[in-house]
Point group: C2
DNA sequence: ACGACCGCCTAAACCGGTTTACGGGACCGT
DNA sequence: ACGGTCCCGTAAACCGGTTTAGGCGGTCGT
């Protein structure tokens, strides 16, 4: 016969137990400051009343939320549609859980990423795929929350975890070149914020640009080059890959080799090629990027650039936690000096690539 | 030359602008109660100081967090390892974003799901795969937070969104039976909380039990039955599927048809079969469950039971939002009467199933 | 017998905002 | 000149906890 209507507060417990609310607080947080039997009595009464310290009130006084934010410039529907992100989230989540932190996702709300950021109750943020020229990056910085960048443009003052994009991309292109391909199509990830790059094209320091640079290095070393319009882009999803390939095909491009910047894009592209009765790799070869877990189980098994996805998440959390308790811990120590980690990539040859069709 | 050390508070803005903190609050929340020029002036000063209302303080007074929790009994590393969950999260995330809510993940912290729940600052929770006999379900209920169950055992008082597990499972088994298979192996998802079912086996009303019931319906209608030990289980990941199949094989089972309760398990099982030089579907047929997006792109393309994954997420959010503003809105109306939705499933035949091998 | 110390508990300040109730001045009509 | 509104803005209470500074009675040491 308990009333479900209202959540019991600390005063309710205090009154019921005939003690001050300080005592109730102590019973939960520093029981050693109370006589053992008093602490027990209070806890039993709290249990009976169904009392639990209000998490928000507790946060307010403690100044910590035990929550880590995962910031993405894209809406969650596209973020989670990329299998890459599942593995990344698994890595980040495992590391956060181990440290006792929960995960909160921060994505644009009513159009504003900074707005979402302001509403978020987090002790630190892992930002993934945040372009340095994102229009709201300054406002985000002003929140003063510790941030670690992943797969983003370097921003002064923030630590980062990235991979060897250039080397990976170069390896992918070299592989196709070695097989005799010369007509290549690049499928990139759409710049997260269309507005930010309306004039300048993709962020010149972003992931997409770095990978294109890697592709170009390999090409020019082989005396080849990308044709005009041979770089298309779409959201990093299976669907986006299919659409991007269709656009290129309709534009008249007839590549024999495709360099996709994510496995999801590669999967979509392969599907679209099939729909055009083109065989992979007999007619067209495809190289992906990421080496997601299912890559080996696909038809055909995907040749791709491996990157340590879960590890990337783990190391990001590691760096972030260091930044968080650098600010919480020693009184004077404001911020740690930012650290930049670059993880290795390597080519994994499977079955989606083959020799240039001799027709 | 701004000091980065301390976050500006509302009093700082008030002092700087020569107004009360009430005025500052009004400038942000009810500008119409201030002279337009005053409101502007305050906002400009706030902007200059880099002031933003502290989200936690705001939550405390407003009583709302604009955050929805996603509760899973498993650690995030296993949850996110299942591609199914990516699609589900995409559905749930899109719906939440549209309503202006952020997403927070609630998974066991230091072993306690209820503990994590108590730390979470959310207005409502979507619980996925929560067994009715989970040891902490009572404690979770006592938090009083609105909850919608997905793929869980029904719990009195809470709304739920599920799928036709029995019908789907039956269709899967009927398909294999029609192809002539009689020796079947079931690979189920591991009960989330080992402790909860130590004695009783899996939750008799849980998803796993419902699907097994569906399989059995089809079998007994065909005069067949599951062999002893023909139900194995593992975490719903690719890896888990491989290990489960290996265990069954080592136990001497030699099925020609496999009923996996998730596509991830099916993928892992197919990989393990390959490692034993068994061909799919020539030697062994495999039916999955979920119809994740990559299912059609696998080698072989996966025969599976389709379920509307993203829609399940959307409808769960819909129900949850209704419950949330039923409690926030009209003063008297405590809770809405719980609603239970069951979404349809259907068999999708692709290439991972074939006729019983005549050897 | 007296001061010091200790163990247990409490009053009050504080975290950083929002909201209610109200005060003062300008304007209006008479 | 006076009461009634309206417009702007403020003081103080409040959200639900934590934490600091002490108070009080009993025991110990001498």
């Amino acid at each position: 016969m308990e009333q479900r209507t209202v959540r019991p507060r600390i005063d309710d417990v205090a009154r019921e137990a005939g003690v001050s609310k300080t005592a109730v607080s102590f019973a939960f947080n520093s029981p050693e400051r109370l006589a053992p039997e008093t602490a027990d009595r209070i806890r039993i009464i709290a249990e009976r009343l169904g009392y639990t310290p209000h998490p928000v009130a507790r946060m307010l006084t403690q100044g910590a939320t035990l929550t880590i934010g995962v910031l993405t410039p894209q809406p969650l529907s596209v973020v989670f549609a990329n299998p890459f992100f599942g593995t990344f989230a698994a890595g980040i989540g495992a590391a956060a859980e181990k440290a006792g932190y929960a995960l909160q996702f921060i994505s644009p709300l009513r159009g504003s990423l900074a707005g979402a950021m302001h509403h978020a109750t987090v002790d630190g943020v892992v930002a993934v795929g945040l372009a340095g020229d994102h229009p709201e990056v300054d406002e985000i910085r002003r929140t003063g929350v510790p941030i670690v960048l992943v797969d983003s443009t370097a921003v002064p003052g923030w630590s980062s975890v990235s991979i060897d994009d250039i080397g990976g991309a170069r390896a992918a292109a070299e592989h196709l070149l070695a097989l005799g391909h010369r007509d290549l199509l690049v499928i990139g990830v759409e710049p997260p914020t269309p507005g930010s790059s309306a004039t300048a094209g993709p962020d010149p320091n972003g992931v997409t640009a770095r990978r294109v640079a890697g592709y170009r290095q390999a090409l020019s070393a082989a005396g080849a080059a990308l044709a005009d319009g041979a770089v298309v882009a779409g959201p990093a999803t299976i669907e986006g890959g299919g659409e991007a390939l269709d656009r290129a095909w309709r534009a008249g491009l007839r590549p024999t080799g495709i360099l996709a910047m994510s496995d999801a894009l590669a999967i979509g592209a392969i599907g679209a090629l099939r729909a055009r009765d083109l065989r992979v790799p007999t007619d067209v070869s495809v190289v992906g990027f990421d080496d997601i877990e299912v890559a080996a189980y696909l038809e055909p098994a995907l040749t791709t650039i491996h990157q340590p996805i879960a590890r990337k998440g783990r190391e990001a959390i590691e760096l972030l936690l260091a930044a968080i308790d650098a600010r919480t811990g020693p009184a004077g120590a404001g911020a740690t000096t930012p650290e930049h980690r670059v993880l290795p990539t390597h080519l994994v040859v499977r079955a989606s690539t083959g020799p240039f069709p001799r027709r």
